[in-house]
């Protein structure tokens, strides 16, 4: 069986986001083979009822965005589609600037975001990973679920994604200082 379709089967059956590494393991193929098969699958699946979603090095299958409104009417267990202003703001920070620490989110918003972050996490819109530079700290980043909510298949589809890449220099240098906010600027610690 062609690797592209084997991967499609695996993704369908597992029904959860899988890393490229995991797919290599499951399909017994090299990373190059899997990567190019996924690119092919992404191409084949575009414009069909099921699309390939990417997030960093993870992939998953989802319904096409165009079917969204039909499914929405069928969806019953659905949570409210509207998010409050603070929740949206926090999501935007994590989407465009993540992975980042909660203290950095607080610094940007100027308020403590503990509970908003916890709720977004419980709703599966963001997730927590260990900070590779400090194993006592966590970093927050978007989940597949969030991409699905936004109707995008990868980060590059975010509006102003490219513009932001150009701004990244100033954003990042800002971000570096944000990792050490001064006590006086932090509200609660």
């Amino acid at each position: 069986m062609k690797l592209t379709y084997l991967l499609e089967s695996i993704l369908f059956w597992k029904n959860e986001p899988l890393s490229i590494k995991k797919l290599c393991l499951l399909s017994g193929s090299s990373e190059e083979e899997v990567s190019s098969a996924l690119t092919e699958l992404e191409e084949i699946r575009k414009e069909t009822g099921i699309v390939l979603l990417r997030k960093e090095d993870e992939v998953s299958l989802g319904t096409s965005k165009e079917a969204g409104h039909v499914i929405e009417t069928l969806q019953k267990e659905e949570l409210s589609k509207e998010l409050s202003k603070p929740a949206l703001e926090t999501l935007s920070i994590i989407l465009y600037k993540g992975p980042l620490k909660r203290i950095e989110i607080d610094y940007i918003r100027g308020v403590n975001s503990q509970f908003i972050v916890r709720h977004l996490e419980a709703r599966g819109l963001i997730e927590r990973i260990e900070d590779p530079n400090d194993n006592r700290a966590y970093l927050y980043k978007p989940t597949f679920e969030l991409f699905a909510h936004l109707g995008i298949t990868k980060k590059e589809e975010l509006p102003e994604h490219d513009t932001l890449q150009k701004e990244v220099q100033s954003f990042v240098s800002g971000g570096e200082q944000t990792s050490e906010p001064k006590d006086s600027e932090l509200t609660t610690s």
């Binding site: 369908f12 965005k65 998010l83 949206l88 935007s92 600037k97 100027g110 308020v111 503990q114 001064k182």
Partner: protein, 247 residues
């Protein structure tokens, strides 16, 4: 004052940055020191009324106000020299506002997308319980330990540090206190009033700043006159009209 500031009175702001940005944008100003000096009064008048905010949140507003006050005092007292740390604080506030403003722009996109057509994952199949596959970790004692772990990780309600709470006295209290002191001692120094010592703690610093702001406010209202002989000298405070007490 300006007619605009009534607009902000009944809005609840997420935090000091939210409030500042909204004040700047309502006046169609750019984010810079001059704009910040202009909106300091509106900011202060808003935080005087923020009784509906929780104490922690009020502390957030007051903390940022100290930087604003520095900016404002520099614009009122051109001779005022700020320490490198204070300069940095001002630059940092401007930078934070710019980042926050950008985030707000991006939030519009996120909102539009979030409320638009979404992608759905496959739903979970109803499992037919044909296999029961436990493992050796599922024991009564492990279950107890696991749940205790979960309970132990519940977030604690954050208590605002007392030091911050202590600072969150209202600006009016401070101004009343200042005026009272002036009534009794016609002339006094800022140093006496704010209680500056050689070594100052963070909380005392906030206290000094709030005192200073209160003083500037009174100067502006024409109730006080201040003079400083030379830089770093004590500031002398005097009532402007001795014969006609102002109540």
């Amino acid at each position: 004052m300006t007619g605009q500031n009534f607009i902000i009175k009944h809005e609840i702001f997420e935090g000091p940055l939210d409030l500042l940005l909204s004040l700047i944008e309502k006046r169609k100003l750019l984010i810079n020191e001059i704009s910040l000096a202009k909106i300091t009064d509106d900011y202060i008048s808003h935080i005087k009324e923020i009784t509906e905010y929780k104490l922690t949140d009020r502390a957030n507003f007051i903390v940022i106000s100290s930087t604003l006050i520095l900016i404002k005092s520099r614009s009122l007292l051109p001779g005022l020299t700020l320490s490198p740390e204070e300069e940095e604080g001002i630059e940092d506030l401007e930078k934070r506002l710019r980042i926050y403003q950008r985030i707000k722009e991006l939030t519009v996109h996120v909102k539009n997308h979030y409320e638009g057509e979404r992608i759905y994952f496959s739903r979970d199949k109803k499992q037919s319980l044909s296999f029961f596959v436990p493992d050796q970790n599922i024991t009564i004692s492990n279950m107890l330990l696991a749940l205790k772990d979960v309970v132990g990780k519940f977030p604690k309600v954050i208590h605002t540090p007392k030091t911050i709470v202590k600072q969150v006295m209202s600006l009016e209290d401070m101004m009343d206190k200042l005026q009272d002191r002036i009534q009794s001692a016609l002339k006094m120094s800022f140093r006496d009033f704010s209680g500056i010592k050689k070594v100052i703690t963070q909380e005392e610093k906030v206290h000094i700043i709030v005192s200073f702001l209160a003083m500037l406010e009174l100067v502006k209202q024409g109730l006080l006159e201040v003079k400083q002989e030379s830089r770093f000298d004590d500031i002398e405070i005097e009532k402007t009209n001795i014969s006609v007490p102002v109540y």
